[in-house]
């Protein structure tokens, strides 16, 4: 039954992807991208990846669609008409598809427990997490401590991309020549739609509360800084859509946003430096408390907070950069 469901979802995924590429209307393409992400999230869930499904649903289907729409408001919404199919490109693409499909016949089947990927470090992670870190969610443990360097790198990449967007588009009141006061008050995308306005206003506190739950419950269930940051940013973006761009910039001012972007990454790196000062290696949380296991738990809690702060800051700042430029 699960297999059939998976095949159904995957087939839909291919149909939606072809739809995205073929449609001439970019607005349609962006909305289809949202559906694509949601289907992808469902697929991840079928494949046992609860944390990834949560991230994809929050980031891909939520934030990414809003950002793309914000960008689309600044550029023409239709692709120019030209010949429908590109022969050479189609030939190359079909050839590579056939080659990749041919290569898959050597691959282990879906769910094969003897596949090489399950023989390397993964069993060690599953065995040692209860002993060394003692938190239920192995994904959070690997993310926070076993592969902490990697996560720090990803946070820096997110931070860098955020800075890049701000340099390109400016953020009124923080980067660029515009001031927050120049953004028109009360100008919002949903301001004149009654039902989204009322439902949205009711939902915002719960979305923010859920973000905090996901942030601090990430060690026990699916969740963590990346997901929480995306959900928190989604709640604030909803507020900005309802109340207006300038009003949202007054709740979390542009300078605070810039501060959030930097301080999360600094907090993460700071934990590494503190653990070095206490005599351990960089990002070795064992030394943070008297008991190594408690130290690990403290370390993960703090770095997840850093991740959440940076992701919130970057996603919100990027949204405001797009939204404020159009008006």
């Amino acid at each position: 039954m699960t297999v059939l469901f998976g095949i159904f979802l995957l087939t839909l995924l291919v149909v939606v992807a072809i739809g995205i590429v073929r449609t001439k209307n970019l607005f349609t393409a962006v909305m289809l991208t949202g559906i694509f992400s949601l289907l992808m999230a469902a697929n991840f869930f079928v494949l046992d990846a609860a944390d990834v499904a949560l991230t994809e649903a929050a980031v891909g289907a939520g934030i990414s669609t809003v950002l793309l729409l914000g960008g689309l408001a600044l550029v023409p919404g239709r692709e120019r008409n030209r010949r429908r199919l590109h022969g050479l490109a189609l030939g190359i693409v079909s050839l590579i598809t056939l080659m990749v499909v041919y290569a898959t016949f050597e691959k282990p089947r879906l769910g094969d427990p003897s596949a090489p990927v399950h023989q390397h470090v993964a069993p060690w992670y599953l065995e040692q997490t209860p002993i060394l870190v003692d938190i239920p969610n192995v994904v959070t443990a690997v993310l926070g401590t076993f592969r902490g360097y990697d996560t720090l790198g990803e946070v820096i990449v997110v931070f860098t991309a955020g800075i890049g967007v701000l340099f390109l588009l400016g953020l009124p009141g923080a980067i660029g020549s515009r001031k927050t006061e120049e953004v028109q008050p009360g100008n919002s995308y949903l301001g004149h739609h009654l039902i989204p306005q009322i439902v949205g206003t009711l939902l915002i506190p719960f979305i923010l509360l859920f973000a905090l739950y996901v942030q601090f419950h990430g060690e026990y269930g699916p969740g963590g800084g990346f997901q929480a940051g995306a959900i928190f940013a989604a709640g604030m973006i909803l507020y900005s859509l309802i109340a207006g761009e300038r009003e949202a910039l007054q709740v979390i001012t542009p300078r605070v946003l810039i501060g959030l972007m930097a301080s999360g990454a600094l907090l993460f790196g700071g934990v590494g430096v503190v653990s070095m000062l206490l005599g351990g290696n960089f990002l070795d949380y064992n030394v943070l408390a008297d008991n190594p296991v408690a130290g690990q738990q403290w370390g993960i809690l703090i770095i997840e907070l850093g991740v959440g702060i940076t992701v919130t800051g970057v996603l919100l700042a990027v949204y405001h950069a797009f939204a404020a430029r159009g008006r």
Partner: protein, 118 residues
Amino acid sequence: MELLGLFNYWVFAVLLMVGFYAVIAKTNMVKKLLGLSIFQGAVFLLYITMDKVDGGTAPIIQPGVVDAIYSNPLPQVLILTAIVVGISTTALGLALIVRIYEAYGTIEEDETQRLDIE
């Protein structure tokens, strides 16, 4: 039935190339960017497909359950962070497109190239 276990990989191959087609054949830059995110989604699917173990469950250890089978947490960690990085880079690309439109008045690649030559 044996071949059905490869269906995920086939979908990966098709999605990868659908995205790649948009990148090489479309001139509209927003379309190229969307193609790139489909391409990226295909890679995510490949990794998450590899994490599945038959009869397994999400790698969240339950106290008191002894012989549970857990799926592989490692690909999940890699893709979890990659998704957030993916949206940040997409936003950066979109910001570049907005600036290109402001400078050239078009987001069709062949037209910007022609304007460059003139």
